[in-house]
């Protein structure tokens, strides 16, 4: 599903965010990406989302060499990836329902089908009763779950999450991780960047460890 081949990323010619990253993630796998802040986790996710292009090496996601994607193909490529952001990236001028429906609107899904899928996604994250609420009325944990619902509403084959439990207490964090495990169980490839080492250790999944832009460990699940 994801293949990094000797990938390097430099910003502004000097700062080396990533160096010689080499790994692969199989379809249906669940992988954690850890490391101190500034280790290159976000840069790596941005490469997969094709927000950046590698300075060196090749990044292949779902058969696409992302450096070779034409600008006009990028939107269609991104639709195959669900992304959960640390700061949710919700739109505060519209209801929970319309936030979750956004990817379907962009893809032109028929409204009735869209409503059905939005409700299914909201039900999955346990917030079906809040569909008419505005995001500002929700707690941080609830907002994060809305972000997850939006990421999975079009059933992406790959789900990326950047510090999804960053600002949540341990119980909420565990709930969120359980959600990701549920999606992984039905075949979604999941990659989660997180520095919550205690939580990761409890979950027993493959873990990629970054330090100063280099991949220093690739610990397979026991």
């Amino acid at each position: 599903m994801i293949a990094f081949e000797h990938v390097g990323k430099r910003y502004g010619g000097r700062f080396e965010a990533l160096a010689n990253i080499d790994f692969g993630v199989a379809r249906g796998e669940m992988v954690f990406l850890t490391g101190h802040s500034g280790a290159g986790k976000s840069s790596l996710l941005r490469l997969i989302m094709r927000l950046e292009r590698p300075s060196r090496g090749r990044v292949v996601v779902a058969g696409h060499d992302i450096a070779r994607l034409h600008a006009s193909q990028v939107p269609f490529y991104r639709r195959q990836i669900g992304v959960v952001f640390q700061d949710h990236q919700l739109l505060f001028d519209r209801s929970v329902f319309h936030n979750v429906a956004l990817p379907l609107v962009i893809q032109g899904v028929e409204p009735r089908e869209s409503a059905r899928r939005v409700r299914a996604a909201l039900d999955k994250v346990g917030l079906l009763h809040r569909e008419k609420a505005l995001p500002i009325e929700l707690s941080g944990g609830e907002q994060q779950r809305i972000g997850i619902a939006r990421a999975v509403v079009n059933k992406p084959a790959l789900l990326l999450a950047d510090e999804p439990t960053g600002n949540l207490d341990p119980q909420l964090s565990a709930d969120i991780m359980a959600l990701f495990e549920d999606f992984n169980r039905i075949g979604t490839t999941v990659m989660i960047a997180s520095h919550d080492l205690a939580l990761i250790a409890r979950l027993h999944h493959r873990t990629l460890r970054l330090r100063d832009g280099r991949l220093v460990a690739d610990e397979r699940a026991p």
């Binding site: 939107p75 269609f76 991104r78 956004l102 962009i106 032109g108 899904v109 939006r150």
Partner: protein
């Protein structure tokens, strides 16, 4: 990512995918048409001011155009109004005048003639100038009979030649060739036309700038939303669409306001203009935009609004990159 359909259903599913994509496209257009109108209605004052700025920019060249049109300077009839006036000698009586007219009419270069007898000439003169009282005191009619000659060709050289031929006929006192004022009028018309065109281009650019600036602010205020939808796979066309509709709405609103202003100006000026015309014994009414003219004005303003939005969004989309 393995979303390729099984091959035996490939063609059919491709067809349904295409038609459903078309429907989705039309649906989004409809939604954005309504959504952008709704956004305008929610901030009525600011948007009305934008539309008013557009309207004023449109009214000036439109009004100039109408004025030129009303003065018949733009008319093709101008060519036809190229005439020669043949003044007959004072002693020629009406019967002789009729014979002379027939002789003039027989010339191959002459298309039509009209005889104005001395009495008719006097009546026309009085009516045109409203000088009844001043002329009543005259014992004799000082005006000669005259023949207005429409030549077959309005070319200055041909008319010059014709005037020479006519001038040599007996009973003819003088031939007046009205070339000078025709030329002057023609230059004036050309000047007016160019002025109107230059103004239209200038103010059209003004409309582009007004809409462009308004849309730029709208893009800026929705920057976060744009970043988010681009992160989850929106195409540039999708992002651009609501702004293009906003621009078109500004154009429609500005165009309608311009039509309103023109009508208002027409009402405002029509009373003194017709009173003035009446005092000269003439009837003259200010020109109004007809249906075709109104349609052209509205289409132009809508197109300008749309184009202004396109330029503004195009310029700013490239600067917005998802974080």
């Amino acid at each position: 990512m393995s979303q390729t359909p099984p091959s035996r259903r490939g063609a059919r599913s491709h067809k349904t995918r295409l038609s459903s994509r078309l429907r989705a496209w039309a649906r989004h257009h409809r939604a954005m048409l309504v959504d952008s109108a709704w956004r305008l209605v929610r901030h009525p004052l600011g948007n009305l001011l934008t539309m008013l700025a557009i309207a004023i920019a449109l009214v000036l060249p439109a009004a100039l155009w109408l004025t030129l049109d009303s003065a018949r300077l733009l008319d093709a009839e101008l060519e036809e109004s190229a005439t020669l006036t043949v003044y007959l000698a004072q002693e020629v009586d009406d019967v002789q005048a009729g014979r002379i007219e027939q002789a003039v009419q027989a010339q191959p270069e002459v298309a039509a003639t009209r005889l104005i007898s001395a009495a008719e000439g006097m009546a026309e003169f009085q009516q045109a100038l409203g000088l009844d009282d001043a002329l009543v005191g005259l014992a004799d009619n000082p005006l000669p009979a005259s023949i207005v000659v429409h030549p077959t060709s309005p070319e200055p050289a041909a008319m010059q030649q014709l005037s020479q031929v006519l001038g040599e006929m007996s009973g003819v006192d003088d031939v007046r060739l009205d070339l000078a004022w025709i030329e002057r009028l023609r230059h004036l018309a050309e000047l007016g036309r160019r002025l109107a065109l230059a103004l239209a281009v200038l103010f059209g650019l003004g409309v582009l700038l007004v809409v462009g600036n308004t849309i730029r602010l709208a893009v800026e205020s929705r920057r976060r939303e744009i970043e988010v939808v681009m992160l989850i796979g929106a195409t540039h066309a999708f992002v651009r669409r609501p702004f293009l509709y906003s621009g078109a709405w500004y154009g429609v609103g500005g165009g309608l306001l311009a039509l309103g202003l023109l009508t208002l100006g027409n009402h405002w000026l029509s009373l003194p203009v017709s009173a003035l015309a009446a005092s000269y014994g003439a009837s003259f009414s200010l020109p109004q935009l007809d249906l075709a003219g109104s349609t052209i004005l509205l289409s132009c303003s809508t197109l300008l609004g749309w184009l202004g939005a396109w330029l503004a969004v195009g310029r700013h989309l490239s600067s917005i990159r998802p974080r």
